[in-house]
C-alpha cells in the first residue's frame, strides 16, 4: 500500500497546482458569494402606471420596506422591465391600487421569497382596509403599533437546548457548502487515478507484484482521502483562525469533514467503477457533481428546496448530510449525539458505494 500511496504523493508534489487551485477556489467562492449573500440587501424595482401612479408608488414603497430584508426601490417602468429582460434583476413589481403583479423571466427561489413578502403586505393592508371600511389605514396602523408596545401576550423563542435562537447564517452555510463541494472534485480526480492505472497497464504490473489488490485500492483510496481532507482542513483553519468565521468547535467540524471525505471517496469509486476509463470518468463526474449542491440546497436557505424528487435524490449523496451536521454544530452548538444521524448516514453511503464501486471496477478483471 505504501508504494502506491507514495507514488500518488510524488505526482502531486511535482504538480501541486491543482490542489492549491482548489483550496484557493474554496476560499474565493466563500468570500465572493458568502459576503454578498450575507451583507448586502437585495434590491427590487417597483413601479405603477396610470394617472395616480406616483401616489400608489409612495403608498406601497413605505409599507413594503417596513421590516423587510429586501429593498424595494421606485423605478421607471421602462427601466424596470428592461432590467428584468436583460437579466440584471430577477424580478420587478407592478403596483396597483389594491393588487400587484410580479414581472420576472425566471423561476428562482428568491422570487418566491419576494412574492411571499409582497403578498403578506398586500393581505395585511386589505385586512386593515376591511376593518376601517376606507382606504386610509394610517390611523389604524398607528393604533395597532401603540397597542403592540405593551402587548397582553409575549412569545419568547428559545433553541432546543434552552439557548438563544440563532438566526440562519448564509455566509457560514456557503463556506461549508463550497468547501465540501470543491473537495469532491479533488477527491474525484484522485480516485480516477485507479482508472488511469488500469488503462495505462500500471495496475496489471502491480497485480503481478506481491502487492495485493486490497493494498492497491487502499493506497489510492487512502491518498484520495488524505488529500481531500487536507484541502478541507486548510480552508476551515484559514476561515477559523485568519478570517474569524464562526465555524463552531473545530474538532467536531473536522470529524464531520473526515466522514464526508470517506463517503465522497466511495462516491467517486462508484463513478469510477461505472465509467472504467479516466476519459469517461472525466466526462461523467464533473457533469454530475455540480448538480449535487443545487439539489442538496447548499445555495439557498433551509426549507427552500422542498421538491420531494430532488430531496430524495439529494439524500443519496453525502453533501446534504455533511452540511446539515456542520451547520447544526456551527450555529446551534450541536454535539456528538446530535450529529450522529447524518454522520451514520454518510458512513452507510461510504460502505454501500465503495462495495458497489470496487465490484464494478473488478468485473471482467478477474
Amino acid at each position: 500500500m505504501y508504494p502506491v500511496f507514495y507514488a500518488q504523493f510524488l505526482k502531486d508534489k511535482r504538480k501541486p497546482l491543482l490542489i492549491l487551485l482548489f483550496i484557493g477556489l474554496s476560499i474565493l467562492a466563500t468570500l465572493i458569494f458568502g459576503n454578498s449573500a450575507w451583507g448586502s440587501k437585495t434590491s427590487v424595482p417597483i413601479f405603477a402606471s396610470g394617472p395616480n401612479s406616483e401616489e400608489i408608488e409612495q403608498k406601497w414603497v413605505k409599507l413594503l420596506n417596513k421590516d423587510s430584508d429586501t429593498e424595494y426601490v421606485i423605478s421607471e417602468e421602462k427601466t424596470a422591465r428592461e432590467q428584468v429582460r436583460e437579466g440584471k434583476r430577477d424580478v420587478a413589481i407592478l403596483l396597483m391600487e389594491k393588487d400587484y403583479r410580479l414581472i420576472t423571466a425566471s423561476d428562482m427561489p428568491n422570487i418566491q421569497l419576494v412574492e411571499h413578502e409582497v403578498h403578506k403586505v398586500f393581505t395585511e393592508e386589505a385586512q386593515l382596509q376591511a376593518i376601517t371600511g376606507s382606504a386610509d389605514t394610517a390611523e389604524l396602523r398607528e393604533e395597532i403599533d401603540r397597542y403592540l408596545e405593551n402587548p397582553p401576550l409575549t412569545v419568547q423563542t428559545k433553541s432546543v437546548n434552552g439557548g438563544e435562537l440563532t438566526s440562519h447564517n448564509m455566509g457560514t452555510q456557503l463556506l461549508f457548502g463550497f468547501t465540501l463541494f470543491i473537495a469532491m472534485f479533488t477527491i474525484g480526480f484522485k480516485v480516477n487515478g485507479i482508472n488511469a492505472d488500469k488503462v495505462s497497464g500500471v495496475w496489471n504490473r502491480l497485480n503481478l507484484s506481491p502487492v495485493s489488490k486490497t493494498n492497491m485500492y487502499s493506497g489510492h483510496l487512502l491518498y484520495s482521502f488524505f488529500i481531500g481532507f487536507f484541502q478541507m482542513a486548510v480552508v476551515f483553519l484559514i476561515f477559523d483562525y485568519m478570517m474569524n468565521y464562526e465555524i463552531g468547535p473545530l474538532h467536531i467540524i473536522l470529524t464531520i469533514a473526515a466522514v464526508f471525505t470517506l463517503s465522497s471517496v466511495s462516491l467517486a469509486m462508484l463513478v469510477a467503477g461505472f465509467t472504467k476509463t479516466p476519459e469517461k470518468f472525466n466526462m461523467v463526474y464533473p457533469s454530475v457533481i455540480p448538480l449535487i449542491p443545487i439539489i442538496s440546497g447548499v445555495y439557498v436557505p433551509p426549507g427552500v428546496m422542498d421538491n420531494p424528487v430532488f430531496t430524495f435524490i439529494a439524500d443519496l449523496f453525502p453533501l446534504g448530510y455533511a452540511l446539515e451536521a456542520m451547520m447544526d454544530t456551527a450555529l446551534f452548538g450541536a454535539g456528538w449525539s446530535e450529529i450522529m444521524l447524518p454522520v451514520s448516514l454518510m458512513l452507510l453511503i461510504a460502505v454501500i458505494y465503495m462495495g458497489i464501486g470496487i465490484n464494478l471496477g473488478e468485473r471482467e478483471r478477474c
Binding site: Y2, V4, A7, L10, K11, K15, S200, G201, N204, S209
Partner: protein
C-alpha cells in the same frame, strides 16, 4: 519449464484463444507471431495470470498456476504492450516504485535500478521525467521495470511498436543479452517477423486464436520447400495484370508491392515465360525478376493467406 495445456478464453461465446498448447524450456527464446487480433495478448495475459482462462491450464515446472499464481509471479517479468509507467515521475522514481512493489530489498534495489538502467542504456537520463522521453526511451524503461526483480522468465508483448530504429535495436540487443548472457527464458510476441527471426530459437504462429504452426525457423521454412517466393519489378502498376497473374497455373498468392508484385507459387519452370507473355499482352515491361530466399513472412503468408500486418 512453462507450458500451457489447451488454454482457452471465450468472451460472450466467441473463442478468442482456442485450446492453445505451447511450452518454454529454461533458457529458450520463443517467438509468438500473429497478426493484430490473433489472440497473442490474451494468451500472454492468461500465461501471466492476469486473466483467468475459460478452460485449460498454465503449468510452471509441472504445477498448475491457475489457482495459486504466486510462484509464477515471483519468477515472471512481463513487459506490456502499453507504456505502464507514471509519466509524471522520473525514470528512477518509476523504477524505485516498481522495485518497492516487487519488494526488492532497499540496498539491493539501488544497485538493481542502476543495473537495469545500464542494461537499457538510460543510466544518464534517470532523473528526467518519463513524459519528456521519446517513445523508444519509454519502451526501454518499460522493459527495465520488468527486470527489477530478476525474473527467470520474461514475456514481452510487442515491445517495439512505434519506435525509432535506434531504440528498436537497443531493445532487441537487450533481449538477446538477457537470453544469451543471463539465461533468461524469453517469450517474445511481435508482428515484426524479422525481430522474431533475429531473436528466437523457436516460433509459434497464431491466427484466429489458434496455433497454426510451430517449430524452429528451419522447420517452418521447410513448409515452403516446394514453393518459391518471387519478387517482380514492373514498369507500371496494373490491376488487370495482377488479376491475370492470379489465374496462372501454380500461382498460390499474389501481393502488390511498391515496385510491382510478390508472388508465392509452386516450383514451376514455366512461370517466367508465362509472366513475360502476360506482361507483353498488357504492355508492361518486367524490369527485374528475383526468386527470394523464403522468410518467416512467406511461411505466414502461405499459412494464413495474409501478411502479418494485415
Amino acid at each position: 519449464m512453462l507450458e500451457t495445456v489447451k488454454l482457452t478464453k471465450s468472451f460472450k461465446d466467441k473463442k478468442v484463444v482456442d485450446e492453445i498448447n505451447l511450452y518454454l524450456h529454461a533458457g529458450e527464446s520463443v517467438g509468438l507471431l500473429g497478426p493484430n487480433g490473433a489472440g497473442k495478448s490474451t494468451t500472454i495475459s492468461m500465461i501471466a495470470s492476469l486473466i483467468r482462462p475459460t478452460s485449460g491450464d498454465v503449468k510452471l515446472d509441472g504445477k498448475s498456476t491457475i489457482q495459486n499464481p504466486s510462484d509464477l509471479r515471483k519468477v515472471l517479468g512481463v513487459v506490456p504492450q502499453e507504456i505502464a509507467l507514471y509519466e509524471e515521475l522520473s525514470a528512477y522514481e518509476n523504477l524505485k516504485f516498481f522495485g518497492k512493489a516487487y519488494r526488492v530489498e532497499r540496498e539491493r534495489l539501488e544497485v538493481r535500478i542502476q543495473e537495469v538502467l545500464d542494461m537499457v542504456g538510460l543510466k544518464d537520463r534517470q532523473k528526467e521525467l518519463i513524459k519528456t522521453f521519446s517513445g523508444g526511451m519509454k519502451r526501454r524503461i518499460n522493459i527495465a521495470a520488468a527486470l527489477l526483480h530478476n525474473p527467470r522468465i520474461l514475456i514481452l508483448d510487442e515491445p517495439t511498436v512505434g519506435i525509432d530504429p535506434q531504440s528498436r535495436n537497443h531493445i532487441l540487443e537487450t533481449v538477446r543479452e538477457l537470453n544469451e548472457t543471463h539465461g533468461t527464458t524469453v517469450l517474445y510476441t511481435s508482428h515484426y517477423m524479422e525481430e522474431v527471426e533475429q531473436l528466437c530459437n523457436r516460433v509459434y504462429i497464431m491466427d484466429h486464436g489458434k496455433i497454426i504452426a510451430t517449430g524452429s525457423k528451419e522447420e517452418l521454412m521447410s513448409i515452403l520447400s516446394s514453393e518459391d517466393t518471387i519478387g517482380v519489378q514492373l514498369s507500371k502498376r496494373s490491376e488487370a495484370f495482377t488479376d491475370k497473374i492470379k489465374t496462372l497455373p501454380d500461382v498460390l498468392q499474389v501481393e502488390q508491392t511498391k515496385e510491382g508484385l510478390r508472388i508465392l507459387a509452386k516450383k514451376n519452370h514455366n512461370l517466367l515465360s508465362n509472366l513475360v507473355h502476360a506482361a507483353e499482352k498488357e504492355g508492361i515491361q518486367i524490369m527485374n525478376y528475383q526468386v527470394e530466399i523464403p522468410s518467416l513472412e512467406d511461411v505466414f503468408l502461405h499459412l494464413t493467406g495474409k501478411t502479418l500486418r494485415d
